[in-house]
Amino acid sequence: MFTTATTTSQKILQMGAAILLFAAVIGLILFIAGRFTGKRDRAVAALYLAPTVLMLSVGLLYPGLRTIYQSFFDASLKNFIGFDNYVTILSDSEQLTVLRNTAFWVLVTPFVATGVGLLYAILVDKARMESFAKALIFLPMSISFVAAGVIWKFMYEYRPNQGTVKQIGFVNQIIVWLGGEPQQLLIDSPLNTFLLIAVMVWIQAGFAMTVLSAAIKAIPDDIVEAARLDGVGPWGMFRFVTLPAIRPAVIVVVTTIAIGTLKVFDIVQTMTGGRFDTSVIANEFYSQTFRSDNRGLGAALAVVLFILVIPIVVYNIRQLRRSEA
């Protein structure tokens, strides 16, 4: 019953059993924890932590360690080859393009998205129809990366400029309206990578705007008024009052977007599939592992991604803690 379910009724039965099992486990934990209450706090804490620790070890720690282990093997995962996979990543021209693209993504997206979000947050702050204006920018956040990729693929769509053929891509139509030749936008490297980055910016600017707008609203009115009495102009207000006050929020936004950007996969996968020199680490990791069946190299790419994300995560958490203190 727990292994294979073919009919719908079986599946529902299986789901019910799973829910019951879950409830039973939680009930047991609460029951045991209740018996310990007041006697041994450590035991209670350990008990509450146990499920999390268990799930983290099964779901994160073990696969992580196993991936690191596999990254030292060849495509078949049978022969130990030391650091060869890493050497490939750092020397093979295709892999170097992947690293270059990832660098573009991480260096451009967080700053542009945060900059756009910040500018927008300041412009709409206390303006009429503020919430409507914010909703417009925030909406892309609610779309999945895949859907965003599909939408923008249409935006960049190309039709040859012959006779009666009409452009269906918005961007090429504008180019035609302006009297230009339609371009195969997603073919030319490295322009295509920046066009993909634009999609990520479109999604993330809303996130940046929301967080930064909240931070701007948290600045006490009287400090703004004191600054006006002291004689600051609009730029001075931003430089001396707004920016110092929202600095922690800006850092959290930049690092959060950077982490998301490092792991970007869906946009590249849906729009180019990593072709035309647009691949990034996460996409390459997928391609190597599941398409080219080179599991060793795929694992190595995953490890590289992991290593790149760690420092940003650490910095992000420290900033979060500091802003809460």
């Binding site: 009287d222 400090i223 008024e225 004191a226 006006r228 009495l229 002291d230 004689g231 600095r247």
Partner: protein, 362 residues
């Protein structure tokens, strides 16, 4: 150095019928310390903010030194303001906070340094100059806010309840410091508070406001001795004046069996629009506790507040219109006990008589 004039200045918030400040007329003299006082929502803070330029003036004008500043931005008015929550820049040190306005004006560094150090010495802030506001106590922050205002050498100081975030003892101490500082610097000051004790002790003159309308402006003593209407009479002084509206007859006001004599003119004035009644007030200290007597008001004591120096006696008397509460101040050795009945007789020389209809002093 500077005078301030409110010329029928009004502020009507969008979407509101009633003006927050209604045709305020007020002349503030050079080097004067004027206190705006009133209950919350009376428009005192709005009036101050109109002067600062933080609030629009919808009608009328505001002049500083005979110059119309009604439509000037705050920075062009040459004023400095101390906020209730101090509004210090959290990321700047005490020194930078005080120097900020001068820095924006491109004052030479040496001059800024001199001005900041001077103000810091005046406010005993020298040892805290490199600290951030977060690392200061409430009283120190308050002094930094003062320092920030002083450094600019403005024409007018504006203070919006600067003491309300301090504890009682520090408030009393800072109160006198601000008053003496103002006298020393000789800068025209407009000070907003809801605390009538602050108003009485600090102001050269006090302006009492209610519902956006200026009720009376005068010296603290004059406000206390001759309040212009019932509201001012009840607002100034603690404990508040005993104010009762009672039946009027040919010779005076009827407090039950006790008849408080009024002059013929007072009776005549009270008749007009008074509907046969008159409002009479006497301060807690302007009543004598006497022995049992027919021409005294019997009061059942509800509560006795022993203040150390003297005592406030709270009680009620049964008057024809119902039970009325009274408070009198007595010497400590005459302190009655709770539940006891004492006889009080208001001093006829210190009576405040108001028209029962209009509330205006007779």
């Amino acid at each position: 150095m500077a005078t301030v004039t409110y010329d029928k200045a009004s502020r009507i918030y969008p979407g509101s019928e009633r003006p927050a400040v209604n045709e305020l007329n007020l002349e503030i003299g050079d080097v004067e310390f004027l206190v705006l006082v009133g209950p919350s929502g009376c428009g005192k803070s709005t009036s101050l903010r109109m002067l600062a330029g933080l609030e629009d003036v919808d009608r009328g004008r505001i002049l500083i030194n005979e110059k119309d500043v009604t439509h000037l931005p705050p920075k062009s008015r040459d004023i400095a303001m101390v906020f209730q929550n101090y509004a210090l820049y959290p990321h700047m040190t005490v020194y930078e906070n005080m120097a900020f306005a001068l820095k924006l004006r491109k004052t030479p560094k040496s001059e800024i340094d001199r001005a900041v150090k001077e103000a810091a010495a005046l406010l005993q802030l020298e040892e805290y100059l490199s600290r951030k506001p977060k690392a200061l106590s409430g009283g120190q922050r308050q002094r930094v806010a003062m320092g920030r205002a002083i450094v600019r050498q403005p024409q007018v100081f504006l203070m919006d309840e600067p003491l309300s975030n301090l504890d009682a003892k520090l408030r009393v101490q800072t109160r006198s410091q601000i008053a003496s500082l103002q006298a020393k610097l000789g800068v025209t000051t407009v000070y907003v508070t809801h605390d009538q004790v602050e108003a009485m002790t600090m102001g050269h003159r006090v302006a009492v406001m209610l519902d956006g309308v200026l009720q009376q402006v005068d010296t603290p003593r004059a406000l206390y001795d001759t309040p212009g209407n019932v509201f001012v009479a009840g607002f100034m002084g603690s404990p508040a004046m005993n104010i009762k509206t009672v039946p009027l007859n040919e010779t005076g006001a009827h407090f039950g069996a006790l008849n408080i004599p009024l002059t013929r003119e007072q009776v005549a004035a009270a008749r007009e629009g008074g509907d046969g009644k008159v409002t009479v007030g006497f301060r807690p200290e302007a009543a004598d506790v006497v022995g049992e007597s027919a021409d005294a008001l019997p009061i059942v004591v509800d509560l006795v507040e022993d203040l150390g120096s003297d005592a406030n006696v709270y009680g009620h008397a049964d008057l024809p219109g119902g039970s009325e509460r009274f408070v009198v101040r007595t010497e400590r050795r005459n302190m009655p006990h709770m539940g006891e009945t004492v006889y009080i007789r208001p001093q006829t020389t210190a009576l405040h008589v108001f028209n029962a209809g209009s509330g205006i002093r007779i």
